[in-house]
Symmetry: C2
Subunit: 294 residues, 2 copies
């Protein structure tokens, strides 16, 4: 396929590379940040309109809702270059309600739209092992499946338009609140005089077992807060959760309090720590660290 790939960031660059290696022709946008390798691997177009004009599919991987809106509907944007039948896939993590609006405007041009946010981070993007959560029609999903399979492993059509974004938000709620749970437990245990490493070991294998207890629990004990997934990005995701919750009428009490704890860590200069650094807010409140910083 001829693919316009918009957003060559930390995630987007390896994703576009996998598509190229799978035999697709990739066009990217002219940017000062393009490397010599990028220019060798990809065609370069001056704007979204011209990149889209010759493409069978457009893939978008940018930071937030306003970025997707600008890419799609800004001057010289993707929408101006669409011809009927073009497949538009937004793999950014953005608002599910805005997604429905965007999809309706794209559908009005006779094109198909999928929301397909990912999890798995930079490692997953590089290893083509991303989890991809897709919203849209079954037929459009089948059309896009070979592209997804070049970039990810655990690929699920969750439901109609917006359901991919909804699923990603649900994922980020669980991840943040499980980190917070482990952080409360370890802060409590440490200040009570127990060895947090032994506590973690004793409860691993039981009902408290999670990927977060395994990975992020260890980071809290070993004080390895280099990202990983940055607190500022998880703040963005919980902001999407709380905004969507407000629009939909869903109270998310522990998402709200966890967002405040992230804000406290960010206020102390920790916005670029790994999200396991959430524990620092609880440590400050307890005036006691789980373990001394190394």
């Amino acid at each position: 396929m001829k693919i316009a790939f918009i957003g060559l960031g930390i995630m987007g660059r390896p994703m576009a590379g996998h598509l190229k290696n799978a035999g697709h022709a990739i066009t990217v946008l002219e940017r000062k940040s393009l490397t010599a390798e990028d220019r060798a691997a990809f065609a370069v177009a001056p704007d979204g309109k011209s990149a889209t004009a010759g493409a069978d599919a457009v893939i978008i991987m940018v930071p937030d809702t306003p970025d997707v809106e600008a890419v799609l509907f800004g001057a010289g944007g993707v929408a101006e270059g669409l011809k009927p039948g073009t497949l538009v896939i937004d793999m950014s993590s953005i608002s599910p309600t805005a997604t429905k609006e965007f999809a309706a405007k794209i559908a009005a041009k006779g094109c198909d739209y999928l929301d397909a946010p990912v999890s798995g981070g930079e490692v997953g993007a590089k290893q083509a092992s991303l989890t991809i959560m897709v919203g849209g029609s079954e037929a459009t999903f089948e059309r896009a499946k070979p592209l997804f399979e070049a970039m990810g492993k655990n690929i699920t059509l969750v439901g109609d338009t917006g359901a991919g974004q909804t699923c990603k938000i649900a994922n980020q709620i669980i991840v943040a609140l499980t980190i917070e749970a482990v952080a409360e437990a370890l802060t409590f245990a440490s200040k009570a005089g127990a060895d947090p490493a032994k506590v973690r070991q004793a409860i691993t294998g039981g009902l408290a077992t999670s990927r977060i207890l395994e990975l992020h629990g260890e980071r809290m004990i070993k004080r390895t807060f280099a990202p990983g997934f940055r607190i500022r990005l998880h703040q963005k995701d919980l902001n999407l959760a709380l905004q969507a919750g407000r629009e939909l009428g869903v109270a998310l009490p522990n998402t709200a309090s966890t967002q405040q704890l992230f804000a406290a860590v960010a206020a102390a200069g920790g916005a670029d720590l790994d999200h396991s650094g959430l524990v620092k807010a609880l440590e400050t409140l307890a005036a006691h660290p789980v373990a001394p910083d190394v």
Copy 2:
């Protein structure tokens, strides 16, 4: 060993049975609730004092802190029957600070004390697969180990006196807050129009993966709220957490809010639901069920 086993409840009865099967001589207290099988398997003493008088070890498995205090120090209690060198093991889930007081009073009589609460529930008790979290000295732990191995599988000396109770509380914090996390995510996803079963499937295997997402997430979707572990018992455990947090100076914001959500489910008549029934409080707040009750 000659063992006085005090507390033949849902957990205690199979635990005492495993000790009997491992070759120990068990004495229990006279109660109307004793079955014919109990009377055939165990010796029966009129009170804790006389049960303890002939015993090498005393094991206690009762509901809460005041129950342990009454068993140990009430009139005709265990303390009155202790001779120097007797091993006292409290396997109940109670306050870590009260545990330190009890252990000091037992030590003053020349006896050894372990706190050794368990997780794994009725199934773990019956299958002798309990997780046992132990606080006390290394030497006392080694002395008690054959008894623990008759009842459990994942057995850890977490630290000094009280560390077993601290670890159990840390475990119950993580379990409750992970249930709450899954409940917020599924309530959000369902009201946003996504299929919660597909959301759960899509995120399983990624960073959100946990035993709770697997077991309790399924219960929330399939509406199977028969216990399992009852909300009223998890309320007791979070009460221990919040009391100990207050004594120690540890703020536990999401433990506090989750306890309020349990209170809301209990207020609506759900205290004897499985703890996955926590989702009902969030469903009430969202005026939307994850899935219809069956």
